[in-house]
Amino acid sequence: MKTIRFGMIGCGLMGREFASAVARWCHLPEMEARPELVAICDADESITRWYRDNFPTIQQITADYKELLANPAVEAVYIAVPHHLHREFYCAAIEAGKHLMGEKPFGIDLAANRAIMECLASHPEVFVRCSSEFPFFPAMQRIGDMIEAQAFGTILEVNSGFLHSSDLDASKPINWKRMVEFNGEYGCLGDLGLHPCHMGLKAGWTPLNVRAILSKIVTERPDGKGGMAPCRTWDNGTMFCETHDPATGQLFPWTIKTQRIAPGQKNTWYFEVMGTKACARFSTKNANALDLLEYKGGEQAWQWVDMGHAVSFKSITGPIFEMGFSDSILQMWAAFVYELVHGRPLKKFAGCITPEEVALSHRLFTAALESHARTITVALD
């Protein structure tokens, strides 16, 4: 089996999920290539220790990402660092010829994203994708198949979102995602925003204009040192977009919600599409369920399907069993490795989100900031 040697820059929560997925790659019995973790970069020794103890394949542990990128043994990198570092790190990785899986939002703002896109344009041999795992849940893969088959007919409306709730606790200490200098002006759009855009961007749906309302709800948070720190980022954002469907040429409204403060929503990623021939709903509130309505004339009935483990990249887990978050991470990494090896995704929605798709999200978020500031509808440039 072919091996792809990975380096990791930024070794936090999602880095550990990646490493654990690498460790159980045997879970995917039909993959023709496997990732191997050979180098890690993080300044915090308490974070790198877990990797060192568990992954004997790691030959390089460094605090300097440039050292890792200079390592000829590294073929591909996973980068998960605060947003203000994306431009510098992602461009350096691409210039070093390393294939890249990068965390969203791919640049702290539109200018940083454009710089990354320019860098990528001059290195077309490098394979670059953005991390986003929720569309790999079985119900979403099924909805993706339906979009590809144009099963929805004329799209009437799409609603998607990503809702968290732990920030409802005003005593939760501040972290870098709540600070403009690290997370950017986008606030919750930069942090959560790409996730609810993923399916629509992959479908080729193009927002033409946006009306956005953004909210700052908690203006200061404990700084972890006994004092309070200003919390200036947007907590919640709702975007209402006039959207073009290239399959039919029709326009439809797409409402996208990104909320850090949505009471009772622990980790709710949802997607809902209403069409003249079919409708579908999914939410990680119940990741096992897919709601469907197929209209062929006659009675209109919603159907509820238990999805089990109907994954796109074959797994050893039996088809009736429940899919978990770590399983969606494993599927996403299978998608990255598959496309890197084969030069194309297994199927359209079993591919990771592309840099071009991410670039459109930046245009949307930038227009959303302007829409909110001027209380007008803003066309995407």
Binding site: E17, A19, F55, K266, K285, N286, A287, I316, T317, G324
Partner: protein, 395 residues
Amino acid sequence: MKTIRFGMIGCGQMGREFASATARWCHLTQASARPVLTAICNRSLRPEKIGWFTGNFPSIDLVTEDYRELLASPEVDAVYVAVPHHLHQEIYCAAIRAGKHLLGEKPMGIDLAANEAILDCMGRHPNVLVRGASQYIFYPAVQRILKMIADDAFGRIIELDSGFLHSSDLDPDKPINWKRLVEYNGLYGVMGDLGVHSALVAFRAGWEVLRTTAICSNLVSLRPGAEGWMVPCSTWDNVTMLSRMRDLRADHVFPWVLRLDRIMPGEKNSWYLNIYGTKACARFSLKNPRRLELLFYRGDEQRWESVDMGFETAYPTITGSIFEFGASDAFMQMMAAFIEELAHGQPSRSCASCPTPEEVHGCHCLFNAALRSNESHIEVSSLKKSRPVEELAAR
């Protein structure tokens, strides 16, 4: 970290889950020991059966068709056994006699006699840890409910309603397999296959089953066999039981409705548990593994709460607490429970330990009462009429 060398007897789907969990043992952040797969035994050594194991696990240095050879290996500390039920007594007893700690698939014996023979053998080898494999109690919502039971949070129990529902047997063209054949699965039918997973909770809670009424159904009596023609399918597909229960702490009696169905349309893998009490109520189903419904009654308005459960596991992992918990995670938590108990000599908490043979024995007594009730159409005593384990050992 201490290493526990595992042998595996029976290399099927759950064996692969077991092996994959050992591969990502790093997922557990506070494990005090790690399992390593050193030996495997399967009836067939054809590459399509065992190639995945030998190809992915270089730690395996013994591959055999003979479980006795595996049990004789000094390189094996513990075994995971997942074989058809008619082999449980022979292989489980052999493992215990060989001094191998045993994580054995339910029902730990094809019938009550086989189960008691295993208990008897266990009693003679008290230094061997023997636990049943059942992963559903490790879902975060179920852990929370078990903790509420332990804390006596429900008040007087009004009703227990639990079950385990599958649906793929609705397809009459689904070929027969060993779980649908009496000679391999026993007279219990669906109870032997799904029953322990669901019934376990009542015994874990410490509730006593006094009497049981059951209705058993054999809905599909013929299925396609391996040779292409139809063969008899004589096991029970669905069983519903109504039991008279006693809460030993309070000496209250309450009803328990237990449904074990292979054929319940639309239910892919619905393990569910509903408990109604005078102070609190709780509802959970794998139909929505994230949701826990709770009602706390303090004399004011009666309101159901719906809570999103995340990754609040008994054994801490690297996965963030807000994320979705899946079947492979449950299986891994179960293995962690076995290994922690093995490493420390006792479970880290009673809610989060693997089924004990005594709990599984309670399930056998219940299933036997159900079979007799179905035959006689009367309510049958489910009390464990057999001797306690120590007495069995003294025989």
